[in-house]
């Protein structure tokens, strides 16, 4: 499978199911790559997979794709440790890969099941930009006949918040779109804040659409709980200490990175929220406090 086929397959996956997380699409693509790979050694396989992941991050530079790729690579390493023979190993990998994909397709449902109990009747929720996981949680809460209303930030520069508002209106949930600058203004009316995450870092903090950090700081100031909903495949091996530490390759869109010379004139698309501002994380592995996230990562990567 060469580069163009890879990119085309990835794009096709994203088009086919717009609801699918980009990390899942990346893992699906890599699994397909694995199936078609004609390598003879495991080392060769790893190298070509690394190349494939780099290629995919060139298409979609979000943290999620990168974490999906790393997870897949880790999956390969773990499986190859058990079976030395390549052909047997490949067969096992393909089976487990399909199983893994099946399990993670259920992860959003698990997250929604855990989180919706935290939404009480009459609650006013604030959320940021467009997150499919948050949408799923709110769908579940609405299905449980809870009455709540939602404030969504517009989330410039791509106005993704409006997309979220439309989706919520279809669920008959009263929704108000607010300016990104109005977060502090609206927080006194709000009961809780729920956001999604593009990546969950080792410290328990999150990387999400720009404006999330601001929202977290304001929630802390107003003493409102700040909840994050994320699937477990978004856990990534980064440990940023401040906004500067987040690598540039995640901050800007893939096209921007390729075409623009001077990145300091571009607006970053994501920011980092430290764990001290997060109350709880809802994942398919359970409800976690930020300190529990690193434990999960250690269990996987060590």
């Amino acid at each position: 499978m060469n580069e163009e086929e890879l990119v085309e397959y990835f794009r096709a996956q994203m088009r086919k199911d717009p609801d699918m997380a980009s990390a899942v699409a990346a893992i699906r693509t890599l699994l397909e790559f694995l199936k078609r790979d004609k390598g003879e050694t495991i080392l060769g396989l790893r190298e070509s997979l690394t190349g494939a992941t780099d290629c995919l991050t060139g298409v979609d530079s979000s943290v999620a794709v990168s974490s999906g790729g790393e997870l897949f690579l880790r999956f390969i390493s773990l499986t190859s440790l058990e079976h030395q023979d390549l052909s047997r190993c490949k067969k096992v990998m393909e089976e487990r890969g399909e199983l893994f994909l099946e399990k993670i397709s259920m992860s959003r449902a698990k997250v929604a099941k855990l989180c919706h109990t935290f939404i009480k009747d009459g609650a006013k929720i604030l959320t940021h930009s467009y997150s499919r996981v948050v949408l799923r949680v709110l769908e579940k809460a609405a299905a449980e006949k809870k009455r709540f209303s939602v404030y969504v930030t517009e989330s410039q520069p791509d106005s993704a918040g409006r997309q979220m508002a439309d989706a919520l209106r279809k669920l008959n949930v009263p929704v108000t779109v607010v300016l990104d600058a109005a977060v502090g203004y609206v927080l006194e009316k709000v009961d809780l804040v729920i956001v999604g995450a593009e990546g969950v870092v080792e410290s328990g903090g999150i990387i999400n659409k720009i404006g999330t950090y601001q929202m977290a700081v304001c929630s802390k100031a107003h003493n409102k709980p700040f909840y994050v909903v994320a699937e477990s495949f978004k856990f990534v091996r980064l440990y940023p200490l401040n906004q500067q530490d987040v690598p540039d390759k995640f901050k800007y869109k893939a096209d921007t990175l390729k075409t623009v010379k001077n990145l300091s004139e571009e607006h970053p698309m994501i920011d980092y929220t430290p764990p001290s501002l997060i109350t709880l994380l809802f994942t398919d592995l359970g409800v976690l406090t930020p300190s529990a996230v690193s434990d999960e990562l250690i269990k996987l990567y060590l």
Partner: protein
């Protein structure tokens, strides 16, 4: 002290009928729980309740009819749901049931020969390496399972007996001479803790009375009998006195899964005052008080009791014009707590998630 009423049926047929005996004991325990929750001291007897629950579970294991681990767990879960429904605020009952369920799982895994290292809990690692949708249905029969489970429950009971002493043993590390310690209400664990330290150190204790039940008075009497200089203050004076306090040591009814507390009414005030003065807040809580609940869940968080303690019925004229509430518990968020001292040592509140994963299995969080 809550006593368990044992109903002895003298008219049974020759040969004891284990089933009815068991059901009678469970009913007796249930009615005792329901009665015990009438609010005359919420911290009273949690250790007792834990021990009784465990003994009852041991009896169920010994006497009920079951052939595989799956059956036993179903029976325990069923009885567990009934018992927790009888008194939802008494979380130690639910905790003990979950611990016993975990014991059953472990013994089953050990009998099957699978290594105990295999993390039964969900993790990214497990997601990646498992070979099939692992449906562990616990159907295999093992002859020695019953004996093993009963032995493990006995170990649990021994652990429960020793909790207060284990906590009290750590007192000398935390209390130094000439310190002023503040506490609230009455906690047996804190009482033992302070008395143990008093054997070797001289310090001063200030007890907030904790209205309306004023259990602080009993605590103060008991401490002064042990030779500790004690002062009782009204709850309203907590903030005023806090500047002279070196440490705050409290007990709690439950430790929640995020590291927060459900403690006696007035504790949140105490915690905020301590935070304001940067005074360390130490919570003495044995492991059986750790519960997998999170504070924001919908079901019964608050327990209210008769408001006559707050506004007596004799004040007839006002009663019709006023709403009176008497909540029993308070929620204290984890940011206000410095240290948890339990029978297995000292921990930070951010570490509670780890202790929880060691004590309970995630599938048992909801009985």
């Amino acid at each position: 002290m809550s006593t368990m009423v044992q109903v002895v049926n003298l008219t049974t047929m020759p040969g004891p009928d284990k089933e009815t005996d068991l059901t009678e004991r469970i009913e007796a325990f249930l009615s005792d729980l329901k009665r015990g929750g009438s609010g005359t001291g919420p911290l009273r007897g949690s250790a007792e309740t834990a021990r009784e629950t465990t003994a009852l579970l041991r009896r169920i294991t010994a006497q009920a009819r079951w052939s595989s681990a799956g059956d036993l767990m179903e029976i325990i879960r069923k009885e567990g749901r009934r018992i927790t429904a009888a008194q939802p605020s008494e979380t130690t009952v639910g905790n003990m049931i979950r611990r016993v369920l975990k014991i059953v799982r472990e013994e089953y895994a050990r009998s099957r020969g699978s290594s105990e290292e295999t993390d039964q809990q969900e993790s990214l690692h497990k997601l990646l390496t498992s070979g099939g949708l692992s449906e562990e249905n616990f159907r295999q029969h093992f002859a020695t399972l019953k004996a093993n489970v009963i032995e493990a429950i006995n170990e649990l009971l021994t652990e429960l007996e020793g909790t207060t002493d284990n906590i009290a043993m750590q007192a000398l590390e935390h209390i130094h001479s000439n310190e002023v310690i503040m506490t609230i209400g009455r906690s047996r664990t804190v009482e033992a803790f302070l008395k143990d330290a008093a054997r070797k150190r001289k310090f001063h204790v200030i007890v907030a009375e904790c209205a309306p039940f004023c259990q602080g008075h009993e605590m103060a009497t008991s401490l002064s009998k042990a030779g500790i200089e004690t002062t009782v203050i009204a709850d309203a004076a907590i903030f005023a006195v806090m500047s002279r306090v070196n440490k705050v040591i409290i007990g709690t009814q439950t430790v929640l899964a995020n590291g927060g507390l459900r403690a006696v009414n007035g504790t949140h005030t105490l915690a905020l005052a301590a935070k304001h003065h940067s005074t360390p807040l130490i919570v003495c809580a044995p492991m059986f008080k750790l519960s997998p609940q999170f504070p924001n869940e919908e079901d019964t968080f608050h327990k209210f009791v008769s408001p006559h303690e707050v506004l007596p019925f004799t004040e007839g004229e006002i009663l019709s014009k006023v709403n009176v509430h008497c909540p029993v518990f308070d929620y204290v968020p984890p940011e206000l707590i410095t240290l948890f001292i339990s029978n297995i040592g000292g921990h930070a509140p951010s570490y509670i998630y780890r202790l929880m994963s060691e004590l309970y299995h995630p599938e048992d969080h909801e009985l």
